[in-house]
Subunit: 373 residues, 2 copies
Amino acid sequence: MEHSINGGRGSTSTNNGVDKGVDFANYFCTYAYLYHQKEMLCDRVRMDAYYNAVFKNKEHFFGKNSFFSLYCAVVCDLSIFYWSWVGLDFSKLAKKTVLDVGTGSGILAIWSAQAGARKVYAVEATKMSDHARELVKANNLEDVVEVIEGTVEDIDLPEKGKYPSHARMWVAPIRSGLGDQKTSDFESSMDDWYRFVDETKTDYGVDMGVLTKPFSEEQRKYYLQTSMWNNLHPNQVIGVPAIIKEIDCLTATVNEVLNVRASFSSSITLDDTRFCGFGGWFDVHFRGSKESPARHEIELTTAPSLDNGTHWGQQVFLVHPPLRVQDSDELVVSFTMTRSKENHRLMEVEFNCDMRSSSGKQIRPFAKKFFIE
Amino acid sequence: MEHSINGGRGSTSTNNGVDKGVDFANYFCTYAYLYHQKEMLCDRVRMDAYYNAVFKNKEHFFGKNSFFSLYCAVVCDLSIFYWSWVGLDFSKLAKKTVLDVGTGSGILAIWSAQAGARKVYAVEATKMSDHARELVKANNLEDVVEVIEGTVEDIDLPEKGKYPSHARMWVAPIRSGLGDQKTSDFESSMDDWYRFVDETKTDYGVDMGVLTKPFSEEQRKYYLQTSMWNNLHPNQVIGVPAIIKEIDCLTATVNEVLNVRASFSSSITLDDTRFCGFGGWFDVHFRGSKESPARHEIELTTAPSLDNGTHWGQQVFLVHPPLRVQDSDELVVSFTMTRSKENHRLMEVEFNCDMRSSSGKQIRPFAKKFFIE
């Protein structure tokens, strides 16, 4: 089988208008480093969840009428933080065999083979595929695991199948000192800008004042409107977490996950605290299918945790200045997430919030837009 | 005039096989931020050099038979560190007018107009062109300065002209503690890897040993074979700097600057010190042309300096372990610099060194390859 693409140098557009070369420069390139693979392989919460999902459900790999596929990797990456679904065709997964999309070093493909899979297709877009192939060979599994260099949209697989898993996206109100810090960084940056405008006028005869507004917008976006990776402490969560998206991987279509829209409310659970924004995370479940349920259901959650943090951490969306809130105040939120038009790997998120105070006090509704990078 | 390109989203290949979209994702994107423009505008050594080159040579802008063009920006960026010449056509510059390639915020174009130029074409590949246009307008120069969004390869200009400037690339032997630090970082990273291989075998049943060599190569490249931006102290230079390339911008062709090959020797000027690698920098001169020499020749140098450092700093190429050298030892070097095949914005550099000890002691010749990112 010949499934290679011109990694990083091609200018082929796929049918959804994505320039493969640009996509490599913007996104895939990271996964071509063993250093980054190792980072993921050292996340023991992630490793244990996948390991248990495979080895506690071995019957899925060798059972007579069982279906299984390690779609989990993609489902995780499809979360609010790691969106890697580019026009993924759901009809291409393999029956009675395993398809590992974005196999990276190949670890999940190897486990599947070790657990008894008849055939594993391990698809990897970057040159990491060469290392995965070596690893498969070194672990004596080259008869079972076939590593394919390419993107899942490009390859043809002989079989079709079903999916085992469920995924959910969560959001909760949080408190955090990050907003104060970012606001202060933004203000320093603007002070510095005004000094620069003065000096450039005086010393070099050019009035830069007209760029103050766009500079301020650029800096505001960078410091205050871009969500951040953060490992939240559980006690930073100040309200009831809400599910903003559930994905049934057995039935989901691309259109279903392209945009996320949700209305939810969250009760504040701490008295007299600061509402500083939202934290977002995801979980996935390995339940198998209706015809062939998992014997041992495994959950992988990236929720704030003292002992079981993951390399995904949480994504933080800061609202500044913070609002003082009380126990039982109700936060009513309308949430949307869409793809950036400029770079389909980036997401834009909007929160429209209404606060219903338990004391009857009125708080003005507010809207806030964020960019996820 | 309509000169726009589909910034960042196109997949057009130019005639030299460069994918514009990839080029934007890899390189141009940085220049679309006012933050980065401000960083360059706050480099007072750069600003003063350009400012003086323009205003101390005003006759070039309004004189009868004078030619001038602010090619300097590109010439600087064409140095060993900032290679921005992509199949640049040297026949396209403007006579009696100014062409500013990569105008950014437009500062050089504005100065040229203020100094008396009849017409300034300010070419900018990114959306920064919108800000430059605003700035031109706010400084009441829209009749003189025409901002064109596009790359210099793509645009057509009505006039042809000559170039004023000279550029040189320099290399010198240096001492530095960075090599020890990077070597120690590399060793820690490998220690960590061996632990990871053990644990993955024990806890997850997969032997990762086969990836040790490629991981080590990847990390070696990252820590020890990639050149680094650094602001060298003048006393870190331990030998006589050598010129590895001179560019006469009046006559230079693309082929002449595509690869740099040089043989040079450098005498060590300090006794009993450590030779830890090479520092590289550039300078440019504004001399005008033979027919119309500059009244005031201006030099812009990015050499190591206590008081006149620039945002370019120097590029450092570490050789580890260091060699102990003595006053008057002679370093004989063959140097090559070529473009990376994977990404034409990156350069690969090789030093082949022979050390002729003043005491007659023999030191083994060595070769070292580096990647510039």
